[in-house]
């Protein structure tokens, strides 16, 4: 099955079924009127119906979107993966290395192959320091810190 649209539809359908099941755990109608389960149940149910319609629509000849058309290849794929993994990496390392080091590492990963290391490091360090000053020192937002406190 190489139809991308169908798989997106199936994923949305599964999510809506899961939400229908979860919605049933809350009262549909309470003692004093409609309960917290009413609206989510209707919405999830409708989402399921429209997911099926979407799957059927994606099977129509003119609406077919194949994986081969939408999946990035080569450098584009590497670029997309790098962005996703670098944000994920930030989530994992920042509680240990602190904001400054983690942010510089993430930016270096994203900048390095396209720019010389001096430019990459300069950009990464200056952007990180500006953000640190604005958010941490001026706006007083406690950013993740390392053992040394930064």
């Amino acid at each position: 099955m190489k139809n991308y649209g169908v798989w997106v539809g199936i994923s949305l359908l599964l999510f809506s079924l899961f939400m229908v099941r979860e919605s049933l755990k809350y009262p549909y109608y309470g003692e004093y009127g409609p309960g917290p389960g009413l609206f989510p149940l209707w919405l999830s149910g409708l989402m399921g119906v429209f997911s099926i319609l979407f799957i059927l629509d994606s099977l129509r000849k003119n609406n077919k979107i194949m994986f081969s058309e939408v999946l990035p290849k080569g450098a584009a794929l590497v670029g997309v993966l790098k962005v996703v993994l670098s944000i994920f990496l930030f989530i994992i390392i920042s509680p240990f290395l602190g904001y400054i080091v983690s942010s510089i590492i993430v930016m270096l990963i994203l900048l390095m192959p396209d720019f010389k290391w001096k430019i990459s490091l300069g950009t990464a360090a200056s952007v990180t320091v500006v953000l640190y000053v604005v958010f941490n020192l001026i706006l007083d937002i406690p950013l993740p810190t390392n053992m040394l406190g930064w």
Partner: protein, 501 residues
């Protein structure tokens, strides 16, 4: 008389030196957001919301709304000079603006669009100042059934105008509504769908959703397209139209102002619609339509004016009813809520100083933009030549720290990643993402008004049709759906999905 007095009080607040500075900062950032491809006004505004946490609500909204209308001006410059529309509404301007620049008339194109934008923006704001106070009484008579019907009507407009098909539009709306159901239930106070996780108790954060769906997903898609390096901007000289062009330009500006303002009143219309309609109207009314696409000045003046006038008109549903007209308006609405302001008719009564100060700041902001726009055109065009490879790591770094600062939690950064990927996957399936954010912000309000309505009528939903206002709005919603189904069948719909991101 009272309106003038209130407006004067608004000016007094908006003209304090710090508010002028915030306004200047907002419109400058807005210009940059409008100029840079890959960062639309919705993402740009969402990105800066965390910066306003420590500010007082008036200054915060003055700055954030400055980003919104500033981006409209900014998009024009790069469109005319280097044919790179920084935001979706500018695409229409490129049809005649860029050919004008090719003919050595870049200055005139920029001049007329700045004048048109200024006139459209200022007249629309005057319209808001004059009309809104009279509508407050009307809006105050809205009960839960009217609110429910109005939100539903707004959503049907979003669906009707969104994307490839009505199925995709409805699906996007439903995804947004289901996401809004996470967190505390409005009537009972139950915590829904938290799955025992503390970070889900309050549900998803709007800023995270907006930054993921608009910001990160655009970057991911941008990485797949080979961004071509913009060409060298041409010289900007002679900002005013020739004597023969003054009359047609003035007429286009007049028509664009009226069109944009009234379209702004309709919830759910994206900013591309007024530009597009104005362009086709100008083309239809022109004596020689063949000039269009080759550098007709009306093709720049009309859409640019309509675009900015729309921005002003859209403030009425936002301020009066708490209904955003576009994705960026939804982000502004999110900022209202974050700053403890409940949008709706009571906003005008309880926070009159806030509303009038923001309106007054828009006069000032439009004036600032007029002066910043033309003399600095070359400088702004230079910003557009920053390579995307350099730009996107900076946007990601700002997004990470911005989402983290919402509640000092790495879960929000995770949310950014998840919603970024969701936007990326859905856009590839031609499912528009703008409606998701738009309805997410309205979801709880819609649920609350529905539950109150059902409570009022002992569970009989059909009673909603018996009240004059809610009945009319429900009928209009049904009509909008039928019309978009017919339009879909005839396959004549313009592809306007995700137009404002």
């Amino acid at each position: 008389m009272e309106t003038i007095q209130l407006l004067m009080t608004g000016f007094e607040i908006a003209l304090s030196w710090q508010n002028i500075l915030y306004c200047l900062a907002g419109v400058s950032v807005g210009m940059i957001v409008g100029i840079l491809p890959g960062l639309g006004p919705s993402a740009g505004t969402a990105l800066l919301i965390p910066l306003t946490f420590a500010m007082d609500p008036i200054s915060a909204i003055i700055m954030l709304s400055g980003i919104f209308y500033g981006s409209m001006y900014g998009g024009t410059i790069t469109t005319v000079l280097v044919n790179v529309p920084g935001e979706a509404a500018s695409v229409v301007t490129s049809l005649d603006g860029y050919p004008m620049a090719k003919k050595g008339r870049a200055g005139v194109a920029l001049g007329i669009s700045a004048i048109g934008s200024f006139v459209g923006g200022v007249v629309a704001i005057i319209g808001v100042a004059l009309v809104a106070p009279h509508l407050v009484k009307f809006a105050l008579s809205f009960g839960p059934p009217e609110y429910f019907a109005l939100i539903l009507f707004g959503m049907t407009m979003v669906v009707g105008l969104a994307g490839k098909s009505i199925i995709r539009g409805v699906l996007a709306v439903l995804i947004g509504l289901v996401l809004a159901m996470f967190g505390i239930a409005p009537s009972s106070g139950d915590i829904r769908f938290s799955f025992g996780q503390a970070f889900l108790i309050d549900g998803f954060d709007f800023v995270t959703i907006a930054m993921g769906l608009f910001g990160l997903s655009e970057i991911l898609l941008g990485l797949e397209q080979q961004m071509k390096k913009p060409e060298k901007p041409p010289k900007v000289k002679g900002l005013f139209p020739s004597r023969q062009e003054i009359r047609p330009s003035a007429m286009s500006i007049g028509r664009g102002t009226v069109l944009g303002f009234f379209l702004g009143l309709i919830p759910g219309i994206s900013s591309v619609v007024p530009s597009l309609l104005s362009y086709s109207m100008e083309k239809r009314l022109a004596k020689d339509p063949s000039r269009f696409g080759k550098g007709a000045i009306e093709g720049v003046a009309g859409p640019e004016t309509a675009n900015n006038s729309f921005t002003g008109g859209a403030l009425i549903p936002l301020f009066l009813l708490g209904i955003p007209s576009s994705a960026t308006m939804a982000v502004l609405l999110g900022a209202f809520v974050l700053h403890g302001l409940q949008p709706g008719p009571t906003l005008f009564v309880r926070h009159a100083d806030f509303v009038w100060a923001v309106i007054a700041s828009m006069f000032i902001g439009n004036l600032l933009l007029l002066f910043m726009n033309l003399p600095l055109a070359k400088f702004w065009a230079k910003i557009a030549s920053i390579p995307f490879n350099m730009l996107f790591p900076i946007i990601i770094a700002v997004s990470i720290v911005g989402t983290y600062s919402i509640s000092n939690s790495l879960w929000d950064v995770g949310g950014l990643l998840i919603f970024g990927l969701l936007g990326y996957v859905l856009k590839k399936a031609d499912i528009p993402v703008a409606p998701i954010a738009l309805v997410f912000i309205l979801g709880k309000m819609m649920e609350e008004s529905l539950l109150q309505t059902l409570g009022l009528y002992n569970g009989n939903f059909m009673e909603i049709f018996t009240r004059p206002i809610s009945g009319t709005l429900m009928a209009l919603s049904v009509l909008a759906i039928i019309l978009s189904i017919i339009a879909g069948m005839k396959n004549k719909k313009a592809l306007l999905g995700d137009s404002e991101v």
